[in-house]
């Protein structure tokens, strides 16, 4: 495949950040619609979302080669310099004071800020939930207890924070698609359906991640039943098939879909995304197996989401 400017770290990040946003999006709505009164699913989504987002960002930052340069996404601190050494007077200096780097026209600049705001919100929520639950006086004291006492006056902010988390989860999911479509690569910019495709995939992988987390943590009591999540996942898979068909038709009409659906990449697309990631999980929902193979379809949906990011990212550069 030769030289890829954007490779594995980038599509891993798009997959993980999307999954985090999708899981939070789904859990928040389930909470809002009254099926998760204890917020167990919302908390679970936040707990898995933070490491997912941070790992994804870490992958990209390490891939930069010089990780500390990532700070330039947020502050403009260093003096202006050329790519050529020059003694002329054209270089203007803006070393101090440091300025905030915010370029809303650039999806990557916005994305960088979205990742920060969502992560900070999620961490704050985790801290406040901790303060809330550490309230019972029979809990032993100690450092964590003191932290909880310190945070307790802020607990009423939890509701507002869950809403901020929701808004930024939507932005996070959309960012993973927009960052590709604002380019000159034929496959990514020929259609308006890259962001929708990635948003649907983010939510389906998010629901799948929640199902696996619920199953593995044994937190099945008190959260909306697996059956409800599974129904939501089935609907999401059907919607994703529709959006994917639209994406193929649109990019096909523009004559740029070739690299995605043919050759080695095409094999990954048809087998990994369409068959394993969508059709088989959907079939499992309507089969007699669904009672026994509880984790099979969410695991396949996660895999399909990863392969989708990979083939779209690589296909756009071939």
């Amino acid at each position: 495949m030769g030289e890829l400017t954007w490779g594995t770290p980038l599509f891993l990040d798009l997959w993980m950040a999307g999954m985090a946003g999708g899981a939070y999006f789904a859990a928040f709505l389930i909470y809002l619609f009254g099926a998760d009164k204890e917020k167990r699913l919302l908390k679970l989504a936040t707990y898995i979302g933070v490491p997912l987002v941070l790992l994804g960002v870490l992958a990209i930052i390490i891939d930069l080669g010089e990780p500390l340069r990532a700070f330039n996404m947020y502050v403009g601190l260093r003096p202006w310099s050329w790519q050529v050494v020059s003694g002329s007077g054209a270089a203007s200096l803006r070393a101090w004071p440091p300025s905030i780097a915010f370029h809303p026209i650039s999806p990557m600049s916005l994305g960088g800020w979205i990742l920060v705001v969502w992560s900070v919100t999620a961490v704050a929520l985790i801290a406040l939930w901790f303060a809330e639950t550490a309230e019972s006086p029979e809990q032993p004291g100690g450092f964590l207890r003191q932290v909880a006492d310190l945070l307790r006056p802020l607990v009423p902010a939890t509701k507002a924070l869950t809403w901020i988390g929701f808004v930024f989860a939507v932005l996070l999911m959309a960012y993973t698609g927009v960052v590709l479509s604002a380019s000159s690569q034929a496959l990514w910019q020929a259609t308006f359906l890259v962001p929708p495709l990635f948003v649907v995939s983010a939510i389906s992988t998010g629901v799948a991640a929640l199902m696996i987390a619920v199953q593995l943590t044994g937190a099945r009591e008190g959260v909306p039943t697996m059956a409800q999540l599974r129904k939501a996942l089935a609907v999401l898979i059907i919607i994703q098939l529709v959006v994917l068909a639209g994406f193929l038709l649109w990019t096909g009409a523009a004559g740029v879909v070739g690299p995605l659906i043919s050759g080695t990449l095409g094999l990954f697309f048809w087998v990994g995304v369409v068959l394993l990631g969508l059709l088989i999980p959907l079939g499992l929902e309507f089969s007699a197996l669904k009672g026994r193979a509880v984790l099979a379809s969410p695991a396949l949906v996660l895999l399909g989401g990863l392969v989708l990011r990979a083939v779209v990212v690589i296909g756009g550069q071939t």
Partner: protein, 256 residues
């Protein structure tokens, strides 16, 4: 007065002295390449090759024509790299587009966004983004860019943009009258005006240029909206339908 270059592909003889001059002035190392059955070398622009003559063989009227075009950053007025750059490293300085090497983080977004494939990341994984600087260090000191100084047939001219457009239009007229009916001037209006203008002997596509180059972020608002609308629809469809309605049904049954 805005400066520009005018590249007359009808005069280019593909000697590649512009490539050598660019490497020499900008202190860019040579690349190790292999014979690919063409005189075109190196195979592509890169972080250490900022300009390159492209060779194209086309058949016209039973005869083979050999088309040459010098390729480099176009210094667009509406520059995609400037739009997408998350740090502001890619920016206009006067009419020229430069990438501030202290601000660049090497994310590669400008590489994906450039409609002319003129920006490249350094090796090994990954340096900063590099490209033609229009020899700004020379130009601001009153010299012409290095590539323009070495061109034996005078295919590359440097000067005032308005004058070069007039020169280019005159030349296009000559070419049209002399067996090149598709000849055109490229860059006068493209992307708000390029600062590398071309006199082309054929259609833009025949010389590897996009007929109608577009800014990478032209649809960015619509792309964001399409993502938001999808999220809205999905909030309604599986979640409201599967969770909320089911919940209501369950509670109404419970209330009976």
């Amino acid at each position: 007065m805005a400066k520009a270059m005018l590249i007359d592909v009808s005069k280019c003889m593909a000697c590649r002295s512009c490539q050598v001059a660019c490497k020499a002035w900008n202190d860019l190392p040579a690349e190790t390449t292999a014979n690919r059955g063409t005189y075109e070398n190196p195979p592509a622009l890169s972080e250490k090759t900022w300009t390159r003559v492209e060779f194209r063989e086309v058949e016209a009227g039973g005869k083979v024509a050999w088309l040459f075009r010098k390729h480099q950053c176009m210094h667009c007025t509406r520059a995609s790299c400037v739009s997408v750059c998350p740090t502001g490293a890619a920016a206009h300085h006067g009419e020229f587009v430069l990438i501030d090497q202290a601000q660049c983080i090497g994310c590669g977004y400008c590489v994906q966004a450039c409609p002319f494939d003129a920006v490249h990341l350094g090796e090994p994984k990954k340096g900063t983004a590099r490209k033609c600087t229009f020899c700004l260090d020379r130009v601001t000191n009153g010299y012409a860019p290095a590539c323009t100084k070495t061109c034996p047939p005078g295919a590359i001219q440097f000067g005032d943009r308005g004058e070069l457009i007039a020169t280019g239009k005159g030349r296009v007229g000559e070419l049209r009258a002399n067996g090149h009916p598709n000849a055109r001037l490229y860059g006068e209006a493209e992307l708000g005006g390029l600062h590398q203008l071309y006199v082309l002997t054929d259609k833009a596509a025949a010389l590897g240029l996009p007929e109608a180059p577009r800014v990478a972020t032209r649809n960015v608002l619509g792309q964001w909206l399409s993502g938001f609308v999808t999220a809205g629809i999905l909030a309604a469809l599986p979640f409201w339908l599967v969770i909320k309605r089911r919940q209501e049904m369950a509670s109404s049954r419970g209330g009976d």
